[in-house]
Structure formats: structure tokens, C-alpha cells
């Protein structure tokens, strides 16, 4: 199990647990505001954008090329940006904090 904390734009903190699936799916299951996931997780909509807490970024890893390009659609993108649907959940992610970008 990995415990993952989301912080929404309005400051709400939601911690959720999962051992599989991706971050976008987990956020949707837990009603995390600001994660829409309109394309269903195929890296086509950029509505699952999160900023990984800098100290956890190494655990999550860098965006792929297509993901990085898609992130450019969002003015809020920074060096810690990832698309939630492209982050697979595993034990290694236990304890990470994600700031919802929108």
C-alpha cells in the first residue's frame, strides 16, 4: 500500500491509499477537486496535472517526452509538474505529497 496526499487549490488535504492504478484514478476515486481526467488517462487532455513536492520528485521521476509536451498546454506547469494519469502507483510512492495544479 502507498499513502498519497493531495493538496487542492483551496488547501484541502486528502490522503488516500492504493497499491495499483495511477494517481489520476486515485484522485478521482477520492473526489480530489481539480483532477478532472477528461481523457480517461491516455495523456491527451492534461486535466490531471499535479506538482510533486520537490523533496519527493525523485521518487516519482521525470515526465516522459509526450507528457512533458502536453504539460506545456498548462500555464501552471513547472519543473515539478507531472500528469497524474502517467504516474503508476507502487509501494515506492508511499508518503508523497502532490499539489493539485488547477
Amino acid at each position: 500500500m502507498a499513502k498519497i496526499t493531495f493538496i487542492t487549490q483551496t488547501g484541502t488535504q486528502i490522503t488516500a491509499e492504493a497499491s495499483s492504478g495511477n494517481i489520476m484514478e486515485l484522485a478521482k476515486e477520492n473526489n480530489v477537486e481539480g483532477i478532472d481526467g477528461d481523457c480517461g488517462g491516455v495523456c491527451s487532455c492534461a486535466t490531471c496535472h499535479v506538482h510533486v513536492a520537490p523533496e519527493h520528485f525523485d521518487k516519482v521521476g521525470k515526465a516522459s517526452e509526450i507528457e512533458e509536451d502536453m504539460l506545456e498546454l498548462d500555464d501552471n506547469a513547472n519543473e515539478y509538474s507531472r500528469l497524474g494519469c502517467q504516474i503508476e502507483i507502487s509501494e515506492d510512492l508511499n508518503g508523497i505529497v502532490l499539489q493539485v495544479a488547477n
Binding site: 478521482k28 476515486e29 477520492n30 473526489n31 478532472d36 477528461d38 481523457c39 480517461g40 491516455v42 495523456c43 491527451s44 487532455c45 517526452e65 509526450i66 507528457e67 509536451d69 502536453m70 506545456e72 498546454l73
Partner: protein, 403 residues
């Protein structure tokens, strides 16, 4: 105050949740004839078709989300009539429900052409709903070997790719002279034909299907294709009947203004079932895409809550077939020039840029999110593109190289 929404798919569900976000405090009642928890439609022809997953894996929202947001979900209930004077709707089972605001998000249904033998054939399927795909998945258990797909549009091609992945022999029959005739350029049609051929799918164009028998599909030119599984994907019919019967204005879709309002100020419509005037392209358009349903839903919710909102999104769409990820932005109709780019040395990575004179109208990108993203920005801001540089693939795709 009560807002009734008819249709709980991409459009209706997003509208319901957006209403809460915009501050609607009254009741929200969401009806759908489909009895499954509302789900994403795009995976139906892609990953949902090739997997054993339950449809709940593709839910638009978790079941608890509706309770939490105070949205009453009436699944398996078809709305039969709208009485605009009394401001009520009546379901097929006879229940009547008053509304203050009404939203039509009734989408579309597959068009089934009047082909001889089609209605009698047991192995013919259409694909628009989870139930439809579950039917195809059931049919696949009998290990059919030869699938014929009637219709070479995006959905037909995605089904072809999915069935190939499952190991069937697949033939796509298209009535027009090329694939995707109404939605893309001849250049991209050729690309898709080659992509499918390279993956072992037979593509046959200019094939007018005239008859279906137990084990074959027959064309007007005398050709015959053996088939133990037939899928019809020749387009849709918009669900406008409710609106028409209620006296709302419809022409190839329910006519809505920039606020997604119909000719009745208390009735809104959004998604696949609507015809709107595109501000950017300055013409009426009817779109079949998640983007359009989701973005119109935002405008509808804001408008109902008395906020200023105007639908002015640039359309975008995606399609996944084999290893090709297509992303399209804009509307290419009416283009006078297309510039094609194949990025050198990176495997399959291409883009088609459509211009009308100097104006960039649309971009189709294959495995090339950069082209898609740049295209989106350039179209939105009407930035003029340096076509010579664009055509020169020695220059990488970068904003600096293109303006």
C-alpha cells in the same frame, strides 16, 4: 429550485458537478436510460474492448461522488416527454418531475443503415454503449476468426485495431474512396490506410455494402467478404427527438447560443446533441468529442448559475490505433493547403498542418504532442506560422522556429 439533466454521460455528468462548483444550491436530478454507472465512452472501442475489465474501471466519477455532491442519479430511466409550459419531464415509466432549469445532454446513437439482411443477422453489432461492447466481448468467446467492420471512420478503425490485437482477421469496408473521408485530408487517410495494412488489416474502399447473409458481407460491386463477426460503424444519429417534440429549435442538432441555451431560456443543451455557432471559425458546427461535451458543460453550469460564460473553445480530439496516438486540434474543413512533417529519425512521429491562406486552421499530430500543443497555441491566438520553416524538418518544432 430543481435542475433536471437528461443524459448522464460526458456532458450531463460534468454539467451536474459543475453546477455544484458554480454554487447551484437546488436539487440536481440526472437521468439516463443506460443503467451502468456513467462511464468514459472512448475506451469502449479501445482498451475496454480488448480487456476483461468491468466497465466500472472506466467510471466518469466514483459512485460516492454523486451522493457527496447531492446529485440524484436516476439510471435506467428514459425520459419520454418534456412539457415546457408546465415545466415538467415525464419518464417512460410514467413518473413526472418538475424542473426550473432543464439540460438536454442526450448525445447520439449509432446509425444503422437499411442493408438487406442486417436486421435478421445474429452476428451484427453496433458500438456506442458499455452494453454493446459487452455483447461483442461475449461474441468473441465463440472465437470468431473473420471480422468485417462496415465503416472506416475513427470508431471503425479503432475497433479494427482492437480486434487485430485480439488476433482476428479484420476487414474494413468503407463506402467512400478513402478512409475518414469527412474528417481528415487525403494525406492522413493514406497514412491510416498504410498503418492498418502494415498491421495486417484489410482496408477496402469504395465498397457499398448491399446485403448481409449468415456468414458474409456482400457489396454492390459483386465482391463478398466472409465474416463471422460484423460491426457496423457508419456514424451516428443525433438524439434530438425529445427536443423536437417539445418544440425546441433543431437542425442537425439542438440549436444553442454561446451560453448553450436553446430557444427556451430555461432549457439548455450540450454535447454531441447540439449545433452551435463556432466563434473562432465563424460557422455552425456540431461536434462529436469529449472536449466539446466537457467544455460546453462548464458553460452551461455557469450560465444556469447566472454567471457570464461563453463557449469559445478550440475543438480537440484524440484517437489511439496500434502504436499511433493521434491528437487533433482545430477544424480543417475548408483548408487550402496542408503541410506535412515527418520528424526525422524518431520512428513514427508526424503532423499535418492545415491552412486557409495564411491562417492555421487545424493540426493532426501522430505520436507528436509537441505539434499538437504548438498547434493549439497558434490556432487559439491566431499566430501566423512561417510555412517555409514549418516544412523544413531539419528545423526542430519549436515556437522560435515557426514564427
Amino acid at each position: 429550485m430543481t435542475c433536471v439533466i437528461i443524459g448522464a454521460s460526458h456532458g450531463g455528468v460534468n454539467c451536474a458537478f459543475n453546477l455544484r462548483k458554480e454554487g447551484w444550491e437546488g436539487a440536481i436530478i440526472l437521468y439516463d436510460a443506460d443503467s451502468h454507472l456513467p462511464y468514459h465512452r472512448p475506451p469502449l472501442s479501445k482498451t475496454f474492448l480488448t480487456s476483461d475489465d468491468a466497465i466500472e474501471k472506466h467510471s466518469l466519477k466514483a459512485a460516492e461522488s454523486y451522493d457527496k455532491a447531492g446529485i440524484a442519479l436516476r439510471l435506467g430511466e428514459k425520459v419520454a416527454t418534456i412539457d415546457r409550459e408546465a415545466k415538467t419531464i415525464t419518464t417512460a415509466s410514467g413518473t413526472s418531475q418538475p424542473y426550473d432549469k432543464l439540460v438536454l445532454a442526450t448525445g447520439a446513437r449509432p446509425f444503422v443503415p437499411p442493408i438487406a439482411g442486417l436486421a435478421q443477422a445474429a452476428n451484427v453489432h453496433v458500438l456506442r454503449t458499455a452494453e454493446g461492447v459487452l455483447g461483442i466481448r461475449e461474441a468473441l468467446k465463440a472465437k470468431p476468426r473473420q471480422a468485417v467492420i462496415i465503416g472506416g471512420g475513427y470508431i471503425g478503425l479503432e475497433i479494427a485495431a482492437s480486434l487485430r490485437k485480439l488476433g482476428l482477421d479484420v476487414t474494413v469496408l468503407e463506402r467512400e474512396a478513402r478512409l475518414l473521408p469527412r474528417v481528415t485530408s487525403p494525406e492522413m487517410s493514406t497514412f491510416f490506410a498504410e498503418l492498418h495494412a502494415a498491421n495486417g488489416t484489410t482496408i477496402a474502399c469504395s465498397k457499398n455494402v448491399s446485403k448481409i447473409t449468415t456468414d458474409a458481407v456482400h457489396c454492390a460491386d459483386g465482391s463478398t467478404y466472409a465474416a463471422d463477426l460484423i460491426i457496423v460503424g457508419v456514424g451516428i444519429r443525433v438524439n434530438t427527438e425529445l427536443a423536437t417534440a417539445a418544440g425546441l429549435k433543431t437542425t442537425n442538432g439542438i440549436v444553442v447560443n454561446e451560453q448553450t441555451q436553446t430557444n427556451d431560456p430555461d432549457v439548455y443543451a450540450l454535447g454531441d446533441c447540439t449545433l452551435h455557432h463556432s466563434k473562432h471559425y465563424n460557422r455552425p458546427v456540431r461536434l462529436e468529442s469529449v472536449q466539446n461535451a466537457v467544455d460546453q458543460a462548464k458553460v452551461t453550469a455557469a450560465s444556469i448559475c447566472g454567471k457570464e460564460a461563453c463557449y469559445d473553445s478550440i475543438p480537440w480530439f484524440w484517437s489511439d490505433q496500434y502504436d499511433a496516438k493521434l491528437q487533433m486540434v482545430g477544424l480543417s474543413e475548408g483548408y487550402t493547403q496542408v503541410i506535412l512533417r515527418d520528424e526525422p529519425g524518431e520512428g513514427l512521429k508526424k503532423s499535418a498542418w492545415y491552412f486557409k491562406g495564411d491562417e492555421l486552421l487545424a493540426v493532426d499530430a501522430v505520436n507528436n504532442a509537441k505539434a499538437y500543443v504548438l498547434g493549439t497555441k497558434f490556432i487559439k491566438d491566431r499566430i501566423s506560422v512561417n510555412k517555409e520553416n514549418l516544412a523544413n524538418t531539419e528545423l526542430p518544432l519549436k515556437p522560435g522556429n515557426l514564427v
